[in-house]
């Protein structure tokens, strides 16, 4: 086998594999969307339960994303500045939600905070319900989307180094001013990258939320759960399809943002997984 044949056969294998595995299914989703028409799609998406699910997903993201962004930046600043006792353990702990099954994350929240869990009776006596409520959904989503800002910001922060911050401090800037005027502008693309990943994960989270939410139609259904319910319980393939299309479109927009950012910031390449 000479060089050219080998090159072409490798190319062919890769294109076929990617085409069959990724291209065909995703392409089919959009082809089917265009063939069935926008009107049918619009009817499905504006059903009350679908709208309620869309709204809940948005509200959950509105809480989970800012909190995880602040925590992620804070942890990145902490881990980049100095090594301290347990800093490796802290970094590893942030990765737990990605390494562990989302179903287990859901089960873990139930076993800690629901009525049967460790703090359940204490929470219940204070009128806080975690299971089958939006609070549980928010907590599950926060847990699942925890590591992305840290992972995106930390490598950028390490690359930027401390020189500029030291210079700012030498010139008399306090820690807050240094952060806002020196550090944050330097890591802004990393932050944006992490936030985009967090939003994508937040809107798409399924397993963990399914366990804690109790799947109450119109009340504790996020969009992914609405899709699952439509398909699995109500045999409403058109509704599931419309919901999937909404989420797929959002994630493709996210993907475009991510690849633009990666082109801008070389360090962002490594830490996707």
């Amino acid at each position: 086998m000479n060089h050219t044949t080998r090159k072409w056969s490798l190319r062919l294998v890769v294109i076929l594999y990617l085409g069959l595995l990724v291209g065909l299914p995703v392409g089919y989703l959009f082809i089917k969307a265009f063939s069935s028409g926008f009107h049918a799609f619009w009817i499905e998406v504006t059903k009350p339960n679908a709208l309620a699910a869309l709204r809940l997903s948005g509200e959950v993201a509105l809480i989970a994303v800012p909190v995880n962004t602040v925590v992620g930046i804070g942890a990145a600043l902490l881990l980049a500045k100095r090594k301290f006792f347990g800093s490796r353990a802290l970094q590893l702990a942030f990765d737990i939600p990605v390494a562990v099954s989302p179903i287990i994350i859901g089960v873990s929240l139930v076993l800690a905070y629901s009525r049967i869990g460790w703090f359940g009776s204490w929470l219940a006596s204070n009128g806080i319900q975690i299971l089958f409520s939006p609070i549980g959904i928010v907590m599950a989503t926060m847990a699942i989307s925890l590591p992305y800002v840290l992972r995106s910001v930390l490598p950028v922060l390490i690359e930027v180094g401390k020189d500029q911050e030291d210079a700012a401090r030498t010139l008399g800037a306090g820690p807050f001013r240094t952060f806002w005027q020196v550090t944050l502008p330097a890591i802004r693309w990393g932050v944006l990258y992490g936030v985009t990943l967090t939003i994508a994960r937040t809107l798409g989270e399924f397993g963990a939320v399914l366990v804690v939410s109790g799947n109450i139609t119109g009340k504790t259904q996020t969009l992914p759960i609405y899709i699952f319910d439509a398909w699995d319980q109500n045999f409403d393939t058109v509704g599931a399809f419309a919901g999937a299309l909404v989420l797929a479109s959002i994630s493709i927009v996210a993907l475009i943002i991510l690849s633009t950012l990666r082109a801008r910031e070389r360090k962002l390449h490594v830490d996707l997984a």
Binding site: P25, L92, S101, I103, L146, W231, L258, S259
Partner: protein, 307 residues
């Protein structure tokens, strides 16, 4: 008054001297930055992740903790059934076969994508052809798509009403396609940067000494790639063994295609939380082991990539 003359009187380059309240508040804020910041982050992490995970393990081993009062919570645990219950729960035949299915599926999926990941990374880094950017963008799609969307999409194409007449509903093949789909980016992106960082000098040397293309790849390129390949294997394996959303639809509802995650979910639907905790613990230990091992590999790669 703080005149310019006064400022220049201190040593050049040194931070301006702070006195009294200014110095105190500056120290306070910087130590808050360290200790306060750390404890806030650790506290959040504990509430969201660490305490719940500990609760799973504890319930898994059937520590029953009396939570009637706060003080009692920490003193009043009894090892009632302990390890016996845990062992009983995970050795129930349905649990065993679910874990076994997850294990062999995840291992084979990680292995297939490790091979394909190297091939894809090779084409992306070394090959040039029009439309390559499109392939490049494709790689991350499975990562960005919500898992349930993957499930719906795959069931559309490979379900009972398949337009291409390939029905993988309720088969292990269907599960495998879903898992190959979702783990693809991990395998590719782990290898790609390392491959791109090789300077090609050693390869040129091997070729000039008469080694063929394949031999060069096997003996020169692969040895520097394998930590990355193994890292990608670990990530893909961890993701596959915990995956739920993308396989939940195509698996249907039969025992033959129930993976560990689906099994745990089914237990929660029957409110069998202790059993769910037991199987979760088994899976948890496995996942955390993979996380630590992969982390070691990742560190080794980072050291290699660092200039």
């Amino acid at each position: 008054m703080d005149t310019p003359a006064k400022r220049t009187s201190s040593e050049p380059g040194a931070p301006p001297a702070r006195k009294g309240w200014r110095r105190f508040s500056s120290r306070l804020s910087s130590s808050f930055g360290l200790y306060g910041g750390t404890s806030l982050i650790v506290g959040y992490l504990s509430i969201i992740v660490l305490i719940p995970i500990a609760a799973v393990a504890a319930h898994g081993f059937s520590f029953s903790i009396n939570t009637q009062g706060w003080g009692a919570a920490f003193w009043h645990w009894h090892f009632s059934a302990g390890f016996g219950t845990f062992w009983h729960d995970i050795t129930q035949s349905a649990a065993i076969s679910a874990i076994r299915l997850s294990l062999w599926l995840s291992l084979s999926v990680a292995a297939i994508n490790a091979v394909m990941g190297v091939a894809i990374a090779w084409v992306l880094v070394r090959d040039k052809f029009p439309g390559k950017w499109f392939l490049e963008a494709f790689i991350d799609l499975p990562f960005a798509l919500p898992t349930i969307v993957v499930g719906v999409v795959l069931l559309f194409l490979y379900g009972t009403d398949s337009p291409i007449k390939i029905d993988l509903f309720e088969t292990w093949m269907g599960l495998m396609v879903a898992l190959l789909f979702v783990t693809l980016p991990f395998s590719v992106r782990a290898v790609q940067p390392v491959l791109a960082s090789l300077d090609g000098e050693a390869e040129a040397a091997a070729k000039s000494l008469g080694a063929g293309g394949f031999r060069t790849f096997l003996w020169v390129v692969l040895p520097s790639l394998w930590p990355a390949v193994l890292g990608g294997f670990g990530l893909a394996f961890a993701r596959a063994i915990g995956e739920f959303g993308s396989i939940s639809l195509i698996a249907g509802g039969i025992g033959r295609t129930t993976t560990a995650s689906s099994y745990i979910y089914n237990l929660t639907q029957g409110f069998l939380w202790t059993n769910a905790a037991a199987v979760s613990t088994a899976l948890l230990v496995l996942s955390l082991l993979i996380l630590i091992v992969t982390n070691v590999f990742a560190r080794r790669i980072q050291r290699r990539l660092a200039p």
